[in-house]
Symmetry: C2
């Protein structure tokens, strides 16, 4: 396991960071658990760049060693989701089943690239902010998927073969949104920096109507704390 | 399962195509098995562009419906391999263990993106030309890895949840290089179009000294057929 020279005594971890509420809380948790956090964001043609700006501010505020923003336009170019295909509208009312905001195989792709970076860094710990309770019905946010990916990672890699086991940490997976908010506030996360909206405007202001906005607002309400979200 | 409108009666498959000997044989096999083949290549900072040109010629010659070349420079930028980091020399003699040409988590990343495309296309079949016999010791070329990825894919995706099972086909995995050559010749593959060399020159001419060149040349010799490789 590599120790970060900028953070002596801390083992390295790769933390997937979108700049939203969940992943900001995740980064704060990984830092609290003693890791030198290397944050990874992707630019994949999602509807707004405000997400990437938020990720940079969050990474800075929560003590990440660095933030890498990887261009993954090829994933967005495949389409198949309201987040990457402008001809598919972002829904503003709850729907049954897996919603059209699902991006095909997104978390598999994100974890695969996080794994590649972890192997180069000598990190054995990956953090992902998936959440199976107050979530939008995405299959790649479930415990079974995370366990299967971890097993794959340990078969796929030089590090895995040589005995260094990878761990995929998904500490938010069993928490409700209100619990996540409380945990983040305890850790000092400034949620005003984060952007969760699927269709935020260029200034990062939220629509207040999409699935992601609804779940987030309900989280603040249920936690009994003011909602610092900037709405358009 | 989606049927390709350009290839009536044929179910779609995504075929990972590097432009080398193995993946050309793979594409010919997938086509023989009745699939409408959507070939996928990656530009990830590997040492030469001749590979991508070879992939285009092979896709055309072997009846692929289309070739998509996805920019994945972010994977190469991570470094950690002689194929993507020019400060690490490509070895020209066999080495013990996993060689420095191993690209961290490469096949996991490639399969994840192939899975994303398959889901958008409505394909349930993915083909990868990994080979566990005359191979270079890469962990992500083994049967256990392929099985683990297939399981992950079926947990990760909307298609998997809704009952359409993905199959990861690795038909070359148990074949020696000579067997692969014989199979390709039976299928009419023109190996003169393919480039396997880790450090081919800009015209696609092979070095004849790297691991990949050695395995390829031994394959032609053992199969008892002329080696059509263009050497520098």
């Amino acid at each position: 396991m590599s120790i970060d020279t900028n953070s002596p005594g801390r083992p390295r971890a790769v933390v997937l960071l979108s700049g939203g509420l969940d992943s900001a809380t995740l980064l704060a948790l990984a830092h609290e658990r003693g890791f030198a956090c290397h944050a990874l964001s992707f630019s994949y043609g999602q509807r707004h760049g405000a997400e990437t700006l938020a990720a940079a501010q969050v990474a800075d505020a929560l003590g990440a060693v660095e933030l890498r923003v990887m261009n993954l336009a090829g994933l967005g170019d495949l389409g198949g989701s309201a987040l990457t295909d402008r001809t598919i509208a972002v829904p503003e009312a709850p729907s049954a089943g897996i919603p059209v905001t699902y991006v095909p195989a997104r978390n598999t792709v994100f974890l695969a690239l996080a794994l590649a970076w972890a192997e180069v860094l000598g990190a054995r710990d990956l953090f992902i902010g998936v959440n199976a309770v107050d979530y939008s019905g995405y299959p790649d946010c479930r415990t079974g998927f995370i366990a299967a990916f971890e097993r794959t990672a340990n078969l796929a890699t030089k590090a895995g073969v040589e005995g260094g086991q990878f761990h995929i940490h998904a500490p938010l997976i069993a928490l409700g949104k209100a619990d996540i908010v409380r945990e983040g506030l305890r850790l000092g996360v400034d949620y005003a920096l984060t952007v969760s909206c699927y269709q935020a405007d260029p200034h990062g202001r939220a629509c207040g109507r999409c699935d992601s906005c609804r779940l987030r607002a309900e989280g603040f309400r249920a936690a009994g704390v003011p909602d610092p979200t900037r709405y358009a």
